[in-house]
Symmetry: C3
Subunit: 326 residues, 3 copies
């Protein structure tokens, strides 16, 4: 049973959110539509809903990430949940406890949701397989595997600007090889029926059988960016680079960095995205990052709504009866 199966209950409803891969269009549309209705909450005077009042959300961060942790914490608090943050990297194995013992202890505290970030691929799925049935597990990034809430917030941002997916061309540019963001986004866009998904990168930053993901490969950005509606720049994952896949950051910028000149190849109304944090002058020029076609900060805003949506949907499904027949 794969991660995509573990996350569904018998009626095929989302009980965890581990990966976009294997989900149906219906699942993704439910998330996007729920996020759309929640987006307004943050613009109201009282930015809170009672949806998760009395629920406990535990941030289990085995890998430091202030930014992602903060967005999940805000999403949970705006749904009125209580939030506990455990930086396991620093604390858990102090007394030599195994991961499973740590997990079982936390679930014995009657928590309702685990938000898991881990440097190893498959960690969130492993945890989802072992928690008690009443707990929902959200993957907040596992190794190089997936970062599905990021993929969904990217898809949500694209839909707000370019809702006609059947006629859309999206270019994802940069370090595809190390990017769990790219992987999750590619799955999401394919499931949502985006006409063409391009990856634009040097051969050394592409996974081995990348075409199998349902993308067109371009080594040359002059071709890859041509007439696209959306440009998604990826962060050059300096901290994940092992060995010298690239001569220098300067060379990367020269060949692939998104400048105004290069962006001019895309459609005139193309939008520019980036999962952040951006490396100015490495994968993106400041004039583009801060320019009128950048929706990078909008992605951050949308990330709260999308995470609120996924929290509401998964915990809502836990409250419903689960059986062979609906």
């Amino acid at each position: 049973m794969s991660a995509s199966k573990v996350q569904l209950d018998r009626q095929g409803r989302l009980r965890h959110f581990l990966t976009v891969e294997g989900l149906s269009r219906r699942h993704l549309i439910e998330i996007l539509d729920t996020a759309e209705s929640l987006r307004g909450v943050a613009e109201r005077r009282v930015k809170k809903l009672p949806t998760l009042h009395g629920k406990t959300v535990v941030n289990l961060f085995f890998e430091a990430s202030t930014r992602t942790r903060t967005t999940f914490e805000l999403a949970a608090k705006r749904l009125s949940a209580d939030v506990i943050t455990l930086n396991i990297a620093h604390s858990s194995t102090v007394k030599g406890e195994t991961l499973l013992d740590t997990l079982q202890n936390i679930e014995a505290m009657q928590c309702d949701m685990f938000v898991v970030r881990h440097q190893q691929s498959g960690a969130a799925e492993f945890i989802a397989r072992h928690v008690k049935p009443h707990i929902a597990v959200l993957n907040a990034g596992d190794g190089r595997h997936a970062h599905p809430t990021q993929g969904m917030l990217d898809a949500f941002t694209i839909r707000r600007h370019k809702p006609d997916f059947a006629n859309l061309q999206v270019a994802i540019v940069g370090d595809i090889l190390h990017s769990r963001v790219a992987r999750s986004l590619i799955h999401a866009l394919n499931i949502l029926g985006v006409a063409e998904i391009r990856v634009v990168a040097p051969r050394t930053l592409l996974p081995a059988a990348v075409e199998g993901l349902g993308v067109r490969v371009f080594l040359d950005p002059r071709e890859g960016l041509k007439d696209v509606d959306v440009v998604v720049m990826l962060r050059l994952q300096k901290e994940r680079m092992e060995g010298a896949l690239l001569p220098t950051e300067q060379e990367f910028f020269q060949r692939y960095g998104l400048t105004e000149e290069r962006l001019a190849l895309a459609k005139p109304d193309a939008i520019v995205m980036h999962p952040g944090p951006i490396n100015r002058g490495v994968e993106i020029d400041s004039r583009v990052a801060d320019g009128p076609r950048s929706v990078i900060l909008e992605q951050v805003t949308n990330g709260i709504a999308v995470r609120m949506a996924i929290m509401s949907i998964t915990l809502g499904n836990h409250a419903r009866p689960d059986g062979e027949d609906a």
Copy 2:
């Protein structure tokens, strides 16, 4: 005036919770009964009560403990309190402030409860003696002295399974010498009228005048475990060991570790407890820890209810008038 007196008001009601020693059976039954009524809260859809709404609980942790801190934080939040956590180990003496100055500053912030964890015995009592009258102090573990909320949650767990204390035999096995948990539990079980409390350990891991605590001493687990109703395994406190009291962990396991064979000496329906975190293969075999007679994770769940009970009772008593006559 001893710790057991400091924690009572003039009517003999709990105003702090520092130690089980010296409390009456009535005090303990009040805690257990309140915890019983609160245990259901965590199973409701909304796991929250308004009891401490508008109150501020401060976690003062001079000794790191993610697990204990988290259970107190959850207990306070489920009673709707605001929670502030201060890891004093890292912060307080940065600017050369004394402990009393730190305390007086925090109490000047109009907090209502201090949850104190400290590596020195007597620290919580010292703090209770110096805080303003409106503040309740809970001991979350002080040196080798006491861990009274753990003792109470253990007693609570035993009562749920074996309510007939007058006919009960409990064996506490392992590192009695360094265990504040053992000390608190022995006091609780004696006060509650448990028929026989046994300690089972090598001579090097027993306190000098252990019999004075009201226990029977067994060096040989074959005798100590015979026909008991409850086996409480203690964690081998590697981090507290000073000098070579034991040859090796392997030897400890061989002589005292709880295996299925050894557990067979106890009554057929005996339960197995451990305060956690467990050292698998050191004091307990995984088959026993994860087996059908283990209530180790139930202890964690009960810990929230017992801490909620103690918080409610002590703060409730602060709200009542205190005088020579009731």
Copy 3:
């Protein structure tokens, strides 16, 4: 445009709180009166108001300060806000992000207030200049420049004891040079019309043109303390001292430390203040710090009310329309 202008909207209302300098007496009185009405909240059974329910307050601490952070966190929680704390010192630049990018990301999470502490003078103002219009910025201490909420809580504490400012003499004693507290307090007292503000310090601990701040300078405490109504002792900022401005702490205590003898020079009903944390035996003798004329801990209590007031006022002003004509 100076900090004092940045913090006002077009109607001259406080939209940020960056510095006391340049504010009008009306602004300060509004803060003091609001704090007075909020002071009672902490003495009620339920210490909470719904004022900031649904608002998100972000503590941006670039400089560690458990004490100040805790008072802001408590103030926000007692106004029912959600609070997120980011210790930027440890986290922000992990991935090489610039300060502005970090800020823009946090504001994109639809937060309502930034509480900023930074080791560089002008940091809070810089941030206030760059945030979106709906965000209020509070300065929780920037370099040697200002600590305006501390200045206001000091003024508030003085007013509660000595409301007749027009006939008041206040002596500020010690390390004026490095003290952002002194700077903010001097501005506040001048604006509020205090008759005489004295600074008492060795020449090496006085700023170059200190008289320009509107104070009388005394090198000798025997003259400086004579007949004053209020003595404000400053912390000897050991951690900020660069080079040997003072021979030894002992010498400082001998010449300037507040002893009972020295305090006898002041008016018989003079009060003693200190922003904390105190260095016992360096700038103040324990008998004075703990004596009947000390209001040091009252300052801490008042600090919560004053911060609640400033949070309420600034966010309240953000909710009102801002135009050329009122």
